[in-house]
């Protein structure tokens, strides 16, 4: 059994790569919606949807740091992990590159709300300095990566903790699905803004979605594995921070 668990990820990786290699080949798209590519109306709409979550996220962060100042370090690390992962432009099976999001770790630690702040800081950095994403589309991009992703990840974590009780698997799934769902939401946002003449929103969604999802699958798996890696380290030092997280936070339950 132990051996199987060792080899499983490698085999899975290999099988998937072969499968996608045989099926691949369409050009794919970057993670964020570029500056100016959502009409003013849609830009405003997504800003309006995102802002309440941002405010709630700020409140959650203030509450955490007030009640447990010693968790500041962990909040910093969750944010830093997002910085690192979203700077890694990885080659994917569709023959183009994209990057993971890194929001899964913080979601598992603190619940989904604080990530709305940490994730959007990264997006702001990239929009301002890297012309990656954009300010007009920041609301839409922040909603997909810093709100929808973490919420889906959190839900997956809870679901798997309650059904299997295997924390590592739950963390892997949380990170992986947070990453994938970010992409699905991005596709949805684009298809709402650009419904195709012939098939409407659905046809556009099929178009954006199939490409996005394909590109992101191996990256989502990578993100899941890297998040588990960091979690292994955290457990190794089994510090009071971790037990604090387990006791107080909405994220992690009993390690």
């Amino acid at each position: 059994m132990k051996k199987v668990r060792k080899i499983a990820p490698l085999l899975l990786t290999f099988a998937l790569t072969i499968y996608l290699y045989l099926n691949a080949s369409e050009s794919a798209y970057a993670m964020h919606i570029m500056e100016g590519f959502l009409s003013p109306g849609w830009s405003l709409f997504w800003w309006a949807v995102f802002l309440p979550f941002f405010v709630l996220g700020l409140r959650a962060l203030v509450k955490i740091t007030k009640e447990n100042p010693e968790l500041k370090l962990m909040i910093g690390m969750a944010g830093a992990f997002t910085f690192v992962l979203s700077a890694l432009k990885l080659p994917s099976v569709t023959g183009s590159s994209s990057h993971p999001t890194g929001v899964g770790l913080g979601t598992v630690m603190f619940g989904p709300l604080p990530m709305s702040v940490l994730g959007s800081i990264v997006l702001l950095f990239q929009a301002l300095l890297l012309a990656h994403g954009g300010l007009t589309t920041l609301g839409a991009n922040a909603f997909s990566m810093a709100v929808a992703g973490p919420f889906v990840g959190y839900f997956m974590y809870k679901l798997l903790m309650n059904t299997t009780g295997q924390q590592k698997i739950a963390i892997f799934a949380a990170a992986m699905f947070a990453d994938l769902s970010t992409y699905v939401v991005t596709s949805l946002q684009l298809s709402l803004a650009f419904p195709s003449e012939t098939g409407g929103i659905l046809a556009s969604f099929a178009k954006f979605g199939s490409i996005f999802a394909l590109t992101q699958i191996p990256l989502a798996i990578s993100e899941g594995l890297l998040t588990v890696l960091v979690w292994n380290w955290l457990q190794k030092y089994n510090t009071e921070e971790l037990s604090l997280l387990n006791r107080k936070m909405k994220g992690a339950i009993r390690s």
Binding site: K6, P9, L10, T13, T17, Y21, S27, A28, Y29, A30, I33, M34, E35, G36, F37, P40, L73, M74, G76, M77, A80, F81, V84, L85, S86, A87, K89, L90, P91, V93, T94, G95, S96, S97, L128, L129, L130, A131, G134, L135, T136, L190, F194, S196, K207, F208, T215, P218, L219, L225, L226, L229, N232, W233, K236, Y237, N238, T239, E240, E241
Partner: protein
């Protein structure tokens, strides 16, 4: 299995996930912002972006900033683990 071993395997899987597409697929692997524009223009040929990015940086500067982003993040992650490790060894020796 030791944690170090486990993590080495995880890292290997991540590296393979990135490496295999490079080896098996013959493609540009461009960052695909341009392709997204194409798809949008296919659907709506008349669309004009109504706002332009504030900065148009040379690609070298851009890769420097990406490196900076990763470095900042990695620095904080490293610092955190250093502190956690220090704390846990202290707790053990007491």
């Amino acid at each position: 299995m030791k944690i170090g071993m486990k993590n080495a395997l995880l890292l290997l899987a991540v590296i393979l996930l990135a490496l295999l597409p490079l080896l098996l697929i013959n493609a540009e692997f461009g960052g695909a912002d341009g392709a997204a524009e194409e798809a949008i223009l296919e659907i709506d040929p008349t669309y004009e972006p109504w706002f332009n990015a504030l900065t148009e940086l040379p690609s070298e500067t851009e890769s420097m900033l990406f490196a900076l982003q990763a470095a900042l993040g990695a620095g904080v992650v490293g610092y955190t683990f250093g502190r956690l490790k220090g704390k846990s060894t202290q707790a053990k020796t007491q």
